[in-house]
Symmetry: C2
Subunit: 149 residues, 2 copies
């Protein structure tokens, strides 16, 4: 059981932008810091922008930054939007051909399990994930956060 690489990278980009604290970041920078494919990130950034999580500024000094506060970015909501296919088993999918579906309880059991899974994610925001920021930043090559005045 896996999430798509796309969901995984969406989370990484948002975490990185959260650590940048409003400063602009580029795809090149994110790809280098995480050592992941720039090509994959293109789609991820395009979709995060489309979904209203980030804004992208064009031009030589362009880049992207969060459009919402980390506390307003819910993990469950994000995963519901990035995983467009939650068909854990065939009978939960659009192309279901299993013959016993009409009477089988399996899809209700899996639906209930999936709801429990997502309800846990609903309890967390990007801000929760960023809480150990002083430990996270050095791992990705960012300076420590400025002490608040």
């Amino acid at each position: 059981m896996k999430l798509t690489l796309y969901s995984d990278y969406c989370l990484r980009v948002l975490l990185f932008l959260g650590m940048k604290d409003g400063e602009l970041a580029t795809i090149k920078e994110i790809a280098e810091r995480y050592d992941i494919s720039r090509n994959h990130l293109m789609k991820v950034v395009y979709e995060l922008n489309r979904m209203g999580y980030i804004e992208t500024l064009r031009g030589k000094n362009g880049g992207m930054r969060l459009l919402r506060q980390p506390a307003d970015i819910n993990v469950g909501e994000l995963i519901r939007r990035t995983e467009n296919d939650f068909a854990l088993v065939e009978c939960l999918g659009a192309d279901n051909e299993c013959r016993i579906t009409a009477a089988c309880r399996l899809r209700h059991v899996f639906r209930e399990a999936l709801d429990a899974f997502l309800e846990v994610l609903d309890r967390f925001t990007l801000a929760d994930l960023l809480e150990p920021e002083a430990k996270l930043r050095p791992l990705i090559g960012l300076p420590l956060p400025r002490p608040s005045a």
Copy 2:
């Protein structure tokens, strides 16, 4: 987010054998009833036998049947055994290379969500899934259960 086809087919085979009520079934029969690949079923049957869910009898009149009562076949236990890879995101997997893993809370959040998912499955057995048996059997071409004496 999907389970493997292997887990899906394990469940289908166990459901079918549960409906057969101790009578022997063959791979050919199961493949035809569900209209699914015989080749895929070979591995599934081999593994169900190895895990002690079913027994297979060789020979001309051979076949397979459940080795446990449906009430003793727990769905959560089965899925834990058939899904050998629960690496929802890279950081939960063996080949994790994400640089922020040491401080990132994401894997704990996903681990908790996965536990909630499996805990729901733990509440169900094959017997629960077979409860609407009078409705299930005609869908797969099996005669109605004999009325109990």
